[in-house]
Structure formats: C-alpha cells, structure tokens
Symmetry: C2
C-alpha cells in the first residue's frame, strides 16, 4: 500500500422512502433555505417533487426552484443557478436528479460564495475552499458524485468539459433510494453501467502500483455491475439488483477502488470528455467507445493486470481476450463501441484529439497523451 488519506464526511442515507426525510436532514445542518436543482419536469409528474416539497415544508425549509439541467451539464445553467442563489440568499443547495444535476449543484454551491467567475475553479486558477452545504436525492446511479468531492461541467462557449475537486463540495447528506431509480431507461441504465465500470478500471489499469485488496474491491464492483445490469435489463423492478448497482456506483468513485494505489490517472475520462464536449453524446456511451480502443492501445504497459482482469471478470486467459469480452459485453447490452454509431466520422477525430490534448494537463497526462497519440487511440474505434 502506498500512502493515502481517507476522508469522506458525506453521510449516505440509503433505502426506502429516505427522500421523504430530506427536510429533516437539511434542518439538522442548520440550513433554512435551499435552491432545489433538478433536470426535466418528470419529477413534477411522478410524485417525487411533491414528496420533497412536503418534507421541506414540514421541516420549515424554504426553497427556490431551478429546473432544466441537462445531461452533460453546461456552465450557463450553473451561472443561472449562482445568480439565483445569490439573489435569493439561499444557504444550501438540494440536487434532485442524477450526476448532471448534482454536479451543477456543486458548482452552484461553490460559485454562490465566490465573487469571481466560477469557471476559475474549473481551470484551477482560483482555490476552491468553500461552498454552500450540498444535499442530494439521486434518481440515477452512475457518476459517484454523491460521495465524492468532484463535479464535471461543460463550458459550452469554449467547448471545455472540465472538473472541480475540493473537500468543500462533498455533499452533506446523499439520499439513495433504489426505488427512485426504477424508472431509468434501459439506455441510460447501460450507459450508467459503462460509467461505473470506467470509474472502476481507470485506477486498476493505470496505477504503477495497485494493491491486491483494492484490486479485489474493483473486481467485486465490476462483477456486480455486469450481473445487476443484466438482471435489470430483464426486470427493471428488481430492487435488490437496483440497490447493489447503486452502491457499486457510489463505491466506484469514493476512494474504495484506489486506496493505496500509486499513479492513478483517468485517460479514458479525459478522452471521453472531449467527445461529449464537442458532440454532446451521453458520457457512458462515449466511454464504451473509448475504453476498448484505449485498452487495445495500452494493455502492453500493464499486461499482468489485464490478464488478471480477463481471468477474474470473464474467465479468460489473455489480456486481449479480456478486452474483447468487455467490448462484446458493451455490444450485448447495447452501448456503442464504434464512432459510426454516433455518426462521428474519421474527419472529426482530429478536433476531438486536439480538444482532449488541450485538457490533458488537468489530468496530469500531457506528457504521454499528445494529440497524435490520442488520435491513434480514437482511430481504433472507427
């Protein structure tokens, strides 16, 4: 094990009807008035909004609404939220939705206490040291944002999909009720599965030292995601599977999969962020195109770990068979593995590679991942 610090102050409230206690959780923190951030109006018709509003009212918590957050959340919406938060003097932010809603909420919570441009935090040109208290009710399990200090937002003007990272944006309380995730479409379930697998394998494959124990946690997560995704595609009502999927998603990016590892980097995320910044494809769908291509390009750098992956996850005996098995699984569950499935052409790859390389220093990857190398990787997914 290499040196690490484990610190995670987020309280997760997992289980049935926990969203109905959100007002109490917020009141315990001394917060009086929240910005309630959400995506589509679906929560107004399926009863969730009413449950949340009732709980807030019962606990004497005022709230102001900000709806309309989209997948691949954008900076303009974040700025709209910051202006509203300041104008209305809210002292907390409540996200009701998936990773895009929560990530927007984290950025709003940070920007609400900052006089400058919130994008400064994404370019690491200003230190992010404080934010309004953040609460969330997750309607989609994928991003892991509910138990980590990070958020990803796209600046739609500069076409940069960047992240913030600061203990200030750990959520105070995250509600995960698998029941609320039953209505996720099969398409988004599969994209979520890919995202969780991506979070699990980045460290597993890239670390120059990855402890056996931590690697075993990664494998447990991936096997759970594969198994529960297949269960949920057949029976979306299976709450045990839905719950295990959600908890694997949380653990994939809360430190569990990287403690004690050395040299963990996120090349697949770096490359995918460029794709979705330029082409607005779902993050998970972009990842299932990037991952097999990246694996084929990379595996000889860490072949023993790729062989371990092949054996543990798919019962295969070689690195390449393991990569093929993962690609086949993406195909089987219906997540794309080729750019043609997005109508992205060979002629688009240069711009994606340039965009990814431009951001590579934020990922600590600028030395290895030249635009040319990134384009080589992308070409493997044509």
């Amino acid at each position: 094990m290499k040196d690490f610090t484990s610190f995670n102050p987020t309280r997760v409230e997992f289980g049935a009807d926990k969203e109905k206690q959100i007002g109490g959780y917020i009141a315990e923190s001394g917060v009086k008035k929240v910005l309630l951030v959400y995506g589509s109006d679906r929560i107004k018709t399926d009863g969730l909004f009413d449950s949340v509003a009732t709980s807030l009212q019962n606990s004497g918590i005022e709230f102001i609404e900000l709806g309309g957050v989209q997948s691949n959340p954008v900076l303009s919406k974040v700025n709209e939220g910051i202006a509203l938060a300041k104008e209305q003097n809210v002292d907390g932010v409540l996200a009701v939705g998936g990773g895009s809603v929560l990530d927007s909420s984290k950025a709003i919570a940070a920007g609400a206490l900052y006089d400058g441009d919130v994008w400064d935090f994404f370019t690491f040109s200003a230190p992010l040291t404080q934010a309004l208290p953040i609460f969330d009710i997750m309607t989609l399990a994928a991003s892991g944002s509910e138990m980590n200090p990070s958020a990803v937002v796209t600046n739609e003007v500069t076409k940069q999909k960047f992240y913030i990272y600061s203990p200030a944006v750990f959520p105070k309380v995250s509600v995960i009720n698998p029941e609320l995730q039953k209505s996720v479409s099969k398409e988004y379930l599969v994209y979520s599965a890919v995202d969780v697998i991506a979070h699990s394998i980045e460290g597993y494959f890239t670390a120059i030292y990855h402890p056996d124990l931590t690697a075993s946690y990664v494998e447990a997560n991936i096997k759970t995601v594969i198994k529960t995704t297949e269960t949920l595609l057949k029976n979306p009502q299976d709450l045990d599977a839905r719950g295990e999927f959600a908890w694997a998603a949380t653990n994939a990016l809360n430190g569990t999969t990287t403690f004690g590892a050395e040299g963990v980097v996120y090349p697949n995320h770096m490359i995918e962020h460029a794709i979705s910044a330029l082409h607005n494809v779902p993050h998970g769908a972009g990842l299932s195109v990037v991952i097999p291509a990246w694996m084929k390009w990379y595996y000889k750098n860490n072949e023993a770990q790729f062989e371990r992956f092949a054996k543990e996850i798919f019962g295969k005996s070689s690195a390449l068979e393991g990569i093929e098995a993962l690609e086949n699984w993406f195909n089987k569950v219906g997540s794309p593995t080729r750019f043609s499935q997005f109508d992205i052409q060979e002629s688009d790859l240069d711009a994606i590679a340039q965009n990814a390389h431009m951001n590579s220093h934020f990922f600590g990857l600028n030395e290895v991942y030249s635009a040319e190398i990134i384009e080589d990787i992308l070409t493997l997914a044509l």
Copy 2:
C-alpha cells in the same frame, strides 16, 4: 440492499512517517493538551514515543502520559485515565498502541465529559453523546477501532467485557503506518488475523440478507488476510503485505462488510468476550477456538452462504469442508482451536456460558443463545 446509513467522519492518514505529523493533525482540530495513552514501555525504547513527543512539542501541544494499558483493557485503567484527564484539563486524547489502547482512550474521552460512572455507557444506562476528540497511532492492526464508533472494555470486578457504541467516539484522525506494525510478534499477528476474519464473517454468516457486493468485499478481505498473514510469517519486513493486512483490518469493521445487510449479529464476539473476561486469553486466540465450533453448530441455518464461503475462500465444495479448511488454517498458522490449548477444562464451560448469556441482550442475542445452547457450542471446542 436493505436500508442503511453510511457515515464515517474519521480521517485516516495511512503511510510512511505519518506519526511524525500527529502534532499538526491535533493542532488542526484546535486541541491544545492531550492525554497520551499507551501500553508497554516499548514505545519509549523503539523511538516511537520520542517521534510523537517531538511532533507534539513542535505543534505546541502539551501532553500528559498514561502508560500501562494491557490487552483486554480494564475499567480500572480507564477510570485512572478519566481522573487524570479531568484533573489535568486535557482537551483531547491520543492513543499510541493497538486496539486495547485505543478502546481505553475512547472510554476515557467519553468519561472525561461525564459526571457519572463511565460504566453507565457500557450498560447503555446513560446515553453517550459527547467525548473529547480522539486521535490514534496504531501499532497493531486488528480491532478496526481506528475507523469505528465502538470500544470494548472489561470490568474486572463484575467480570463483564462490554462495549460502547456512539458517533461521539469516532476518532478524528487515525494514523496507520505499516512500518510501525513490523515489530508485532508472530503470535499477535496471527491472533490479529483471526480477529479480522471474525469481524468479516459475523455479518456474512448471520445476516438474513447479505448483498452479493458486500459479501464480495468480505471475501476480498478474508483472502487478503490469509495471504498477507502467510507472507508476514515468512517475512515480517514485507511492508506491502503489512499495509494490505492493516487496511483489510480497518475495512473489516468500518461498515464495508455489512452495508445493506439485514440482521447482522455478533455471536462469536459475544461468546469470546465471556472467555477473555473470565480467563484473560488473547481475544484473537479465543475467537479461533469459538469460530469453528460456532460454525459447526450454526451452518445449517445458512448453508448456501457457508458453501459460498467454502468455494470462494478455500476452493472447497461443501459447507463442512469450508469450516474444516478454516480450522486447519488456524492450526497451520498457530492460533488455538481447542480449549485444552488454554488449559480451560470442561468444568469451566458452564461459567463461560453463563457469562456469555448474561451479556447476550447487549448483542440482541438473548432469545436464541440460552446458556445451554452456548455450552453446546463451547463443547464442540473441547
């Protein structure tokens, strides 16, 4: 997954030389004067005490010493610490040692802010809501106390080995430096391994519902403990193995192995506490006697899980073969599996069973575990 709350505010500082920063960690919390609790005087000769004292002095933290905490820590020592903490007006407690030192420190931290008898917290006759801030430097990995809100102490007058449980006693900062654990004797390494396995399997076998994902984390922990114990018996200097062992120990009792499970109880701990309360055997040694006996008595209640254990941990195909393999492993590494190895006779079992049953309601086990049944279990270890 069944409902649960995950909340763990302890910061773990894991790695080389982290103990040399303890003064800084304590100063960050605003604490000015600590009670420094330890066990034997070994830390005065091996350099650890000097390192810690220097770090405290450099950060302007005053300290008062309380040495002499023993394995199976006793209430009289805790009361001595409470009196000293009150008299000296310390505003924090620093444990330097293993689980016994930390558990004593937790009880002292709780008692220092209480006017009554600290034993009230162990009998749950007074609510434990506040404690002085607790810090620790672990020289032994076993108890998991460094990342949980519990502590076990023996009342040597009443012969009761009881526990406290309250968020108030989560350590603020726990230092785990595998280097400091290199000097643990082979005997105590093995007892520690048994304790970690015990913490991992209690929930795994007793839960009426145990999620696949959580069970896989348990199996990863146990496999790591078995593998690294064997490595360390051959080469006590292997720091990677020492580190993985330590992290498995922490994760065995910080929630990782029980999240989403329903009906987790601790019968092996309940029974062992009676043995070490009456006979002062090392906790891990007592557990390796109890566990195979309990498993043989219990396995038909949850045979599928015992078969899973047999297959995943030892590559065996039946519940009984798995139990036998674990017992054989205890024998192989030199942890006792029979009462005769402690010179405990058949005539002693009745008193142990009575003591365990007397405490069974604190474990939520009084309905099933009559003194007769406990004696039946104990008899299997003659």
